[in-house]
């Protein structure tokens, strides 16, 4: 191999390939070394904890709330089928789907509007989306509590125009509103990225071929923006499904979602095996949603 390391202007193709092979092996080693520290960290503080949760989900809750690891069983998983859990799961999926649909309905025209502005205006409009998005989620959700409370500004407004007090706080409406508010930017940004990338020559071509505006939109713009629609929908659906802070702050006792239910298993019921099984299943659901997203050709995550 030694001679292949010396560049030779008249080197044979095989020698060249050998040189490239050596370089590739060297690059491979360096890449692995650079990847090692983050990989180790994630194995220790992500993969290993994941395995521990899986093990716990097959354990048994002792009579005083301690976890008995010795006796493996699937009781925690069969409990997932009971009516209360099913009700909470269905409610969570329902709220998450509704949130996703509302976000899409509002964000699509919004993203389209931004994408059709001049570059300068576009940047300003996007920053105005980012500023509340990057500020504290808990605080923004709490602000809705002030806005929706029965003595709050919205209620005063509806009373002033004769509609009476609004009693939205601690209802499903407040929870979905809070989720839409919290996750809307996850819909706007991928939609904007997809729409902005569309080659408008194609839309113009459709118009030149006598397609009406709506028809050109439906046959050209919409299909081309579909990666953004799918990315945005999944990015909104996933956190909505596991939401904890929003239903806790804006919802009442009848709006419990999976996230709150899991937390309750750990912090008050002290049923760690059942909580582990629940959180494992929720995670599996989300992984499935993400895989569907990648299967359909999604790229922007």
């Amino acid at each position: 191999m030694a001679q292949t390391l010396v560049p030779d202007p008249e080197a044979s193709p095989e020698a060249d390939a050998g040189l490239e092979h050596a370089a590739a092996a060297e690059r491979s080693r360096r890449g692995a070394w650079i990847a090692l520290p983050p990989a180790l960290y994630l194995v220790l503080l992500f993969a290993l904890p994941l395995v521990i949760v899986l093990v716990y989900s097959f354990a048994t809750r002792g009579s005083t709330g301690q976890t008995i690891l010795a006796d493996w069983n699937i009781a925690s998983y069969t409990r997932l089928l009971n009516p209360l859990v099913r009700e909470i799961a269905l409610r969570s999926v329902g709220y998450a789907l509704l949130t996703t649909a509302l976000c899409l309905a509002v964000a699509y025209p919004f993203a389209y509007y931004i994408a059709t502005r001049s570059l300068r205006v576009r940047n300003i409009l996007l920053v105005l989306v980012m500023i509340p998005f990057w500020s504290n989620f808990l605080v923004r959700t709490y602000a809705w509590r002030l806005l929706l409370s029965s003595s709050g500004p919205l209620s005063q407004l509806t009373e002033a125009i004769g509609l009476g007090q609004t009693r939205l706080l601690f209802t499903p409406v407040a929870v979905v509103l809070g989720l839409v508010y919290g996750y809307m930017p996850f819909m706007i940004l991928p939609l904007y990225a997809a729409i902005e990338r569309i080659d408008l020559g194609l839309v113009e071509a459709a118009r030149d071929l006598y397609a009406s505006g709506p028809r050109a939109f439906w046959r050209v713009t919409w299909p081309l923006s579909r990666p953004g629609v799918i990315a945005g929908s999944i990015l909104v659906f996933i956190p909505s499904l596991g939401a904890y802070v929003t239903p806790e702050i804006l919802g009442g006792s009848k709006t419990t979602m999976l996230g709150s239910y899991i937390v309750r298993q750990f912090l008050s019921a002290r049923d760690w095996p059942f909580g582990s099984a629940l959180s494992f299943v929720v995670m599996a659901l989300m992984l499935a949603a993400t895989l569907i997203y990648f299967r359909t050709g999604g790229r922007t995550l």
Partner: protein, 280 residues
């Protein structure tokens, strides 16, 4: 070519007005609660909703409240440590994935994406069980007592931040033209020089954006932190969450306004910073 350049396809007339109206409503939706919160934080009425008069009392009360001040300090310590470490690790991960082919790369890629997908409740559960088991194991092995506290919070924040930093830096690396790096190599720059003089300056906006995202996520987190924090080691969001659940007092409005303004300044600063680095 972007949408704005197309002349015949820009929406006009009624369609344009509808789109504009929708956009203004969205901005109203985004900013109305924020404005209400800030205004009410200066309200002298104890009942949060009804305006009575201007006061700074709640801010004064906040500055006298040792629990608030301690949780602010905790938040800052955790955020700084976790941002520095996760930015370094996340950047390394992004470089390895984008610039090298190595054995186990695909597995590493999957491991890197997973923490983003896993809901924070699940992540919280995972880390709690992990720390409890590790503490037990360490106690058996060495007799050392490990308690939940700032260390476990920081370790957890790093764990979820690495992936976010890696994604942001990766996007930047993927958008960079490799020609410049090749040119540097052709001009006899060694690997380190190429990295130091060409790759690093080019990817810096991505690294800064990643660090800022990590900082924000760390300052934001409630669920994971509340699981892995011990008595006396709560961060500001966890403390505020506790206050909110116990009932609305004007003190929360003042604390929330401070948190809100602080993060808005951070975002705005990052935007200005990136502008100065020229168009990207």
């Amino acid at each position: 070519m972007s949408v704005a350049d197309g002349s015949t396809v820009r929406p006009r007339g009624a369609a344009r007005r509808l789109l504009a109206a929708n956009a203004w409503l969205v901005y109203l939706f985004f900013y109305a609660p924020i404005v209400v919160l800030i205004v009410l934080s200066f309200n002298s009425n104890r009942l949060a909703g009804i305006w009575q008069g201007f006061t700074l009392d709640w801010y004064a009360e906040m500055l006298d409240n040792t629990a608030v001040l301690r949780s602010i300090r905790n938040s800052v310590i955790v955020a700084l440590f976790s941002t520095v470490v996760s930015t370094a690790l996340g950047t390394a991960a992004a470089l390895a994935i984008e610039r090298f082919r190595f054995r186990g790369r695909q597995a590493f890629d999957a491991l890197l994406y997973l923490p983003v997908i896993v809901p924070d409740v699940t992540m919280a559960v995972m880390l709690l069980l992990f720390f409890v088991r590790t503490a037990d194991a360490l106690f058996v092995v060495s007799g050392a007592q490990v308690r939940l506290g700032l260390t476990t919070i920081t370790l957890s924040h790093i764990a979820f931040n690495i992936s976010f930093v890696a994604i942001v830096v990766r996007a930047r690396l993927a958008g960079m033209d490799p020609v410049l790096e090749e040119a540097a190599a052709d001009l006899y720059a060694d690997r380190w020089q190429t990295f130091r003089r060409v790759t690093l300056p080019q990817m810096m906006p991505g690294v800064l954006a990643g660090a800022l995202l990590a900082l924000t996520l760390s300052l934001d987190d409630v669920v994971i932190t509340s699981f892995v924090s011990g008595p006396g080691s709560t961060t500001l969001p966890v403390y505020v969450f506790g206050l909110v659940r116990r009932g609305v007092t004007p003190l929360i409005n003042a604390v929330s306004t401070v948190m809100l303004v602080a993060s808005m300044v951070l975002v705005f600063g990052s935007v200005v910073l990136q502008r100065r680095r020229g168009p990207t």
